[in-house]
Amino acid sequence: VTNNLDDLDLGAKLEALTSQATALAPVPEVAAVLRRGRRRRQRLTATALLSVLLVGAMAPGAYRLEQRLASTPSPTATHPAAETPPNRFIGWWQDNIDASVYLPKGVNPAGRATVERQLAGLPEVERFWFESPQQGYARFKAEFRDVPAMTHNVTQDNIPAAFRVKLRGPGGLARLLDDLCTPGWSPRT
């Protein structure tokens, strides 16, 4: 069998084939791709948070936090860790943070203040505090310093600024979602 298909011919043939095959399909709007990216990011955030909680729940003894808490300044003056040092990270997390409101990257001070005012006005919120990406990243690194797989794969860019929220009473989360999920911005817990 003779090779009657030289390189130039093959390239041209491939061009012809693929041009014909894609000729009828329009190029989607870039907005559709950006929407898809946003959905993807929301999924990732939810998955990351879920896995953090799962890891904590499955190995409750794994994260001893006494010393770490002692060396980390408390986010607020009313931090109960001051009176009752918790034994375990997951216990501390469960006792102190019911929900996290992540802020989009590059949020301006006005946007942040809006969320802050909103949270301050909600009856179901017992207390909350702001955590900058720097603080969040430092805490993340401390919490997972024994798990290099986590710390190696996460950079400060991956940690959004957030309000950590402690809620009052049962059903607080549902009410918080109702109250915060107004059109115009998208809180995630």
């Binding site: 491939l14 084939l17 399909a25 950006l34």
Partner: protein
Amino acid sequence: MNPDTGAIVDSRERQEFTEFYHASYPRLRRQLFAVTGDLAEAEDALQEAFARASLRWPRLREYDAPEAWVRRVALNLTRMAARRLRRHARALLRLGAPPPTAELGPEVVDLYRALRALPRPQREAIVLHHLAQLPVAEVATQLRVPVGTVKARLARGRAALARARGPRSGTGSAHEQDERDNQEVRP
């Protein structure tokens, strides 16, 4: 804080991403189609890859060739069989019926069948070298295999394509190949 901006906050970066998208989408789509043989699958993987690119555009834009990054991600996506099935189901739900079928002319339909009959590694090498027009060394870098491997894949792939398109008096195996592939030609 505008929820409609995705990861790209800066409007100049957004403009830049849009330009990059429009410049490279048609080209990458043709390359992905040549590798997968299925337009819906190629588009789905490509859009997913662009979505991921949009999330890290501020860093990607510094790369020499962001297009190569998108292509690699899209190729990886099409490589995983399980994901392919899941994406296929999602694409069916989202897009409804398959996209309009382009009629392939007689001069290319043989090549289409022969291409689909190639093993995937050979198809990738052929597409990157002959359609994306990357030098052999660059193909090796992007596929993360030695240069010699790329050359061997190119030689085998070209030989198989030439055989399939060969003289009409051709070999029995090429005809059997044609019959096996005759069942469905849906780009």
